[in-house]
């Protein structure tokens, strides 16, 4: 009964996403262009390295990793910061706050529909193509199950971070700069643009202790690892679970405190 409240938002989001068919085409074209750049960039990196394996990864390992990271990005990026920022600026947030649903949940479930669409229309086809083209490079077994769990945790962490950054918009009333900054930091430190294996040792250790790597590096490592030790998978998932709880608590508290400020001092 209670879940229906949220699933109706998912449903609405799916219908809404389908209204804008063209955007899927544009996203696909954009991705192809991005991947062409990635292909040539890394080809030259490997060429100049002079060896087949750099930092423990072959050229095709790297490429598969980055293609999947891009696909993952397409469906994980929720544009929450934009949404919150726009709602604050237009004042629509008042209407949303007057719904009998917590705003954090309202926003998440409103977006979840387009999420489902992106998963089926961009991530899944990309994954299948990559799996087919590289036949055998992606292990297809129990790791898929771990991967799904890992992605769910990643989505949760990503959303919490977005929500925290979105909350900052309550104070700054500007969105653009904050959003760009967030995107660059998250994409870099999560291993979405450069695999973390390529980071210098010091930075790598540092990054592995941050929540960001749990968003892209963790699920992709789980997916692509060949016969991983069960304990290392569990450790990765455990770390993700830890971060998803921590970030959820932080984002909820920060929002609560900020909203109080807003109700006291006006928007």
């Amino acid at each position: 009964m209670n879940l229906k409240k949220y699933l109706t938002l998912t449903r609405a989001g799916m219908i809404e996403a389908l209204q804008f068919r063209l955007s899927f085409v544009i996203i696909a074209v954009g991705n192809v262009l991005y991947l062409i750049v990635v292909y040539f960039l890394w080809k030259s990196i490997y060429a100049s390295a002079g060896t087949d394996i750099v930092n423990g990864m072959t050229f095709s390992d790297t490429l598969i990793y980055l293609v999947l990271a891009t696909a993952l990005f397409n469906f994980m990026e929720m544009y929450t910061v934009w949404e919150i920022g726009r709602n604050i600026q237009s004042g629509k947030i008042v209407l949303d706050l007057l719904k009998p649903i917590e705003y954090r949940k309202y926003l998440f479930w409103s977006y979840s529909g387009s999420f489902v669409m992106q998963f089926f229309l961009t991530f899944l086809p990309t994954f299948l193509i990559v799996a087919a083209v590289t036949h055998g490079t992606i292990p297809l077994g129990i790791n898929l199950l771990y991967f799904i769990v890992s992605v769910i945790l990643a989505v949760s962490i990503n959303y919490s971070i977005d929500y925290i950054v979105g909350t900052i918009c309550l104070y700054t009333e500007s969105i653009w700069g904050i959003n760009i900054m967030k995107q660059v930091i998250v994409l870099l430190l999560s291993g979405a643009t450069v695999p973390i294996a390529f980071f210098p040792e010091g930075l790598k250790q540092f990054v592995l202790h941050l929540p960001f790597q749990s968003i892209y590096n963790a699920p992709l490592t789980i997916l692509l690892a060949k016969d991983p030790a069960p304990e290392s998978v569990l450790r990765t998932l455990g770390t993700q679970l830890f971060w998803s709880l921590v970030m959820m608590i932080i984002s909820k508290l920060f929002w609560k405190v900020s909203l109080r400020r807003i109700t006291v001092n006006g928007g």
């Binding site: 009964m1 229906k4 409240k5 699933l7 109706t8 938002l9 449903r11 609405a12 219908i15 809404e16 209204q19 804008f20 237009s90 004042g91 629509k92 008042v94 209407l95 706050l97 007057l98 719904k99 009998p100 649903i101 917590e102 109080r260 109700t263 006291v264 001092n265 006006g266 928007g267």
Partner: protein
């Protein structure tokens, strides 16, 4: 009848950064802690019964929206007490949300890209409306307005009037105890205004919903409100029946005359001759606002006939609009 809204001595203050002028000033503002306190709402009290339609009036910036935001729970009062159906709204925003509906004239709560019926379905689930109640409400809507053509139209393709109508229907959908309508008829044509007024009136009658209406259109007030509350600069100026308000200023009548020659110049002349009356001129008429307690309209007319050749005349009882205008400009004595 029981009180649904109780407001006691509510005051709301905002801290506003003192802005300085120019580039240099703006740079200094970055580090400024120089706040001043603005009192948007100042010691307001009122009690509203279930089923009333109350016109909440005041000039722009009077503090109307702030009061409404406090009643909905988006803002917390600096001092004083607000109870909506016995609940403190800002402490129980989610619970309060079940009991209220909101329409802001310039914004829509509907799902932009979806047909109206989808928005209704979403709201049905969000507010956990039972199937029976939902169907009952749609049936009522069908009996009041012709919604069939709207239901399957995406909201973004609607005209402003259709969208406002839809927004009002959406606000009443979960059968809230109170609906706040913030300038619902803004920017609408005459026939749409009439349609919306009829709709609000019918919904209030059928569902016994309390309606708080803010508007600048006195047509809305005349058509809908038995009671009006006027505030200005955060202070309450008036809270009583609309009939009482007219009685209050009822001694005023407007005499309109048409004379030959330059109306502006003659209006000035008449103004000097009649110190107790307010005289103004537009393209066709000279208007003389007469306070009948001081001077009878017939006497004024007789006096004017001596000095001017009056070609035509009209006598107007004062309208709500003019009363409100007078209150905004002069306050209540």
């Amino acid at each position: 009848m029981s009180a649904i809204i109780e407001i006691k001595n509510v005051t709301k203050e905002f801290k506003v950064l003192n802005r300085r002028e120019g580039l240099k000033g703006s740079l200094r503002d970055l580090f400024s802690r120089d706040y001043k306190t603005v009192r948007a709402v100042d010691n307001i009290s009122m009690t509203i019964e279930q089923g009333e339609i109350v016109g909440y009036l005041g000039p722009n910036g009077a503090g109307k929206s702030t009061t409404i935001k406090m009643m909905t729970g988006v803002l917390e009062p600096t001092s004083g007490e607000i109870l909506i159906g016995g609940v403190v709204p800002y402490q129980n925003r989610t619970k309060n949300a079940q009991e209220i509906g909101v329409v802001f004239g310039q914004r829509s709560q509907l799902w932009w890209a979806l047909p109206l019926i989808e928005s209704f379905r979403i709201l049905k689930d969000i507010y956990q409306i039972t199937d029976a109640d939902y169907e009952g409400m749609l049936k009522l809507y069908r009996s009041l307005v012709d919604i069939e053509p709207l239901l399957h139209k995406p909201v973004r393709q609607m005209s402003l009037g259709q969208r406002t109508l839809s927004d009002i229907l959406a606000a009443f959908l979960h059968n809230p105890k109170i609906v706040f309508l913030d300038e619902p008829t803004i920017g609408l044509d005459v026939s749409m205004k009439a349609k919306i007024r009829t709709l609000i009136h019918a919904l209030n009658r059928e569902k016994h919903t309390t309606v708080i209406l803010t508007t600048h259109d006195m047509g809305d007030v005349d058509a809908l409100c038995q009671r009006i509350v006027i505030i200005d600069k955060g202070k309450m100026l008036y809270d009583n029946d609309i009939e009482h308000l007219k009685g209050f200023f009822g001694a005023y009548r407007t005499l309109k005359i048409r004379v030959d020659g330059d109306l502006k110049a003659q209006a000035e002349e008449i103004g000097k001759a009649l110190p107790d009356c307010a005289v103004s001129a537009d393209e066709d008429w000279i208007s003389v606002l007469v306070n009948e307690e001081k001077q009878k309209v017939m006497d004024v007319l007789a006096q004017l006939q001596k000095t001017h050749r009056i070609r035509d005349m009209q006598l107007e009882e004062i309208s709500t609009e003019e009363v409100i205008k007078k209150i905004y400009e002069e306050g209540v004595q």
